[in-house]
Symmetry: C2
Subunit: 369 residues, 2 copies
Amino acid sequence: MSMELPTIRLIKGAAEIIDQVLLPGRYVVRRLQTVDQVCEAIKALRVRGAPALGVTGAYGLLVAVEEKWRGDGAHYFDDKDEDSKGLEEFPADVTVDDVRSLLDSAARTIGETRPTAVNLHWAIDRMAKVYRKNWTSTADMLRALRNEAVAIYREDLEMCRALGRHGAELLEDGAKVITHCNAGGLATSGFGTALGVVFAAVEAGKSVHVYADETRPLLQGARLTAWECIRNKIPVTLLVDGASSSLLSRGDISCAIVGADRIAANGDAANKIGTCNLAVVCHRYGVPFYVAAPSSTIDPSLADGSSIPIEERAADEVTSFAGVQTAPSETDTFNPAFDVTPADLIAGIITERGVLHPPYDFKGGEDAA
Amino acid sequence: MSMELPTIRLIKGAAEIIDQVLLPGRYVVRRLQTVDQVCEAIKALRVRGAPALGVTGAYGLLVAVEEKWRGDGAHYFDDKDEDSKGLEEFPADVTVDDVRSLLDSAARTIGETRPTAVNLHWAIDRMAKVYRKNWTSTADMLRALRNEAVAIYREDLEMCRALGRHGAELLEDGAKVITHCNAGGLATSGFGTALGVVFAAVEAGKSVHVYADETRPLLQGARLTAWECIRNKIPVTLLVDGASSSLLSRGDISCAIVGADRIAANGDAANKIGTCNLAVVCHRYGVPFYVAAPSSTIDPSLADGSSIPIEERAADEVTSFAGVQTAPSETDTFNPAFDVTPADLIAGIITERGVLHPPYDFKGGEDAA
């Protein structure tokens, strides 16, 4: 079985996602056919993970076009329809400006769903560069947009593969790798960043044992990372986030590898809340802490992590679970979705271009990575 | 309203406890009338917290006597029956050896319920010293046992009060204190150790804001610490255990105060899993990390934390919650109930005798504390 997952696909005019809220109990593929559905899926974390959000943003713009001008039973976009033959049915009276106006609005709506992951905005910006070109044919513009979106998807898969190969060189046979949250196939087009490193090492014949932080409040480690490892027959041990000191004090953990949602010019990296705690603990016990992320995650416009916008989420994520109240209902909470790990705690940033080591300096733009 | 809680009482021959598993949803007082019920309540964490476990162990031995020889409607022990008048009804044909034999067996059974908290064994040993004396009268022995058990309870309350007064001197008006797990009234005879410091500071007129780690897997912070603070009208903010770096990086947290289940001769302190992570994070951000515990928690027979026995608990605490599966059922887990914070991360140990500072050296026995 391939280690790749069909996390997000463009099928018959809809973005089809594995609904990650229902895992591991149920494996449900959900068809997103309106901008509202795309936004709901992003906000409710049915689709999450910085690279996967990039693809969702790009496909979401195509969904906006389908929603507005979809014909009876027809569809315009599909990731298998290389020549976009579906566009032959597109209404002839829709102008380039009509589409641009719709896309500007959809881009704004989708872009506002989650502030921290830069990949979502990066992918939407790539699409905007295409539709803002000087088009004379609506069909040509839409064909180019479909190709750009599918390219973002495919490049992400290739990025994961390349990142995995570079990262796998850091792992010895028998490595024990701790990770936080889920930076696996479900967080990307299908292969993963942090877990992609593990998968690539296993594909290269090494044995790897994964230790997964459960990752409160939303338990992506328990629900998604454990599930992906078991699916791929990789031994996995689950622990509560507070148990990492206890685990690392035993002295046999090889390294930590986590994903990232945004990386500032100096290497400070935003990732799921709890990541920085793991980095601090790794530092105490001398365990190398790596960040695995595509270079599109690097935002050279931010000097350091203090300017990364951090999403605050609702109190009930912390005060209740599965409908059961776990704290008095009037309890105040501190519930940021992300934290920022200072660059000095990061032993290396694993990208599709290779493993970068400190000091990090991405001020020159993405190409510096 | 008093800040004290009726966490455990000796009432009409039973140990009455607040069932902490049901909090904060339901406040239920449970009567423990058999050794089996006492052991179940300890193992299921209906009563927990090192000092409270000490009292439970002592009262549990009295429950064993009630269970074996309880008369119709009568009872022998009550914390309000100062002269143990109930013992006038005790069967005259029961010998000192009969009672000793029963208590030896009950002490073993109760002592085996939880291995890490030294206070449980310390309290049982105190009771054993009493019943192993050269008694000629069964009633005299039982009266002395009841008085010893109630003394353990009362000394614990006084200990909390004294500890609270010493600790409160460390807190300025407006202090922001982060804590882990529950070391409040529910963890003791009724006033608390770490939270007792906060309560004492508030009683002394200072304003204090508590930040409570939710404390996975069993959420004592969310369920118990938040509940106690709200009950005592103390502002409390709940966070997931992984969020402490994010919180401390803002620079306005005054200190951390946590309880302990056992402290080795060099000051290494075992406490609820996740405590050491908080200590490591505090060290990174320069926030003083205090342990608050009675001197009975110090075990001078252990040179350092590596010899503290650590209880491993069941996988389903991590793989499910409130009956909902949160990880694939076949997931392996690492689920120690406690971790050990190295003494070098502890700014001070707050005891009923004062605040101790490093280097710690408790080899001379308890009195060294």
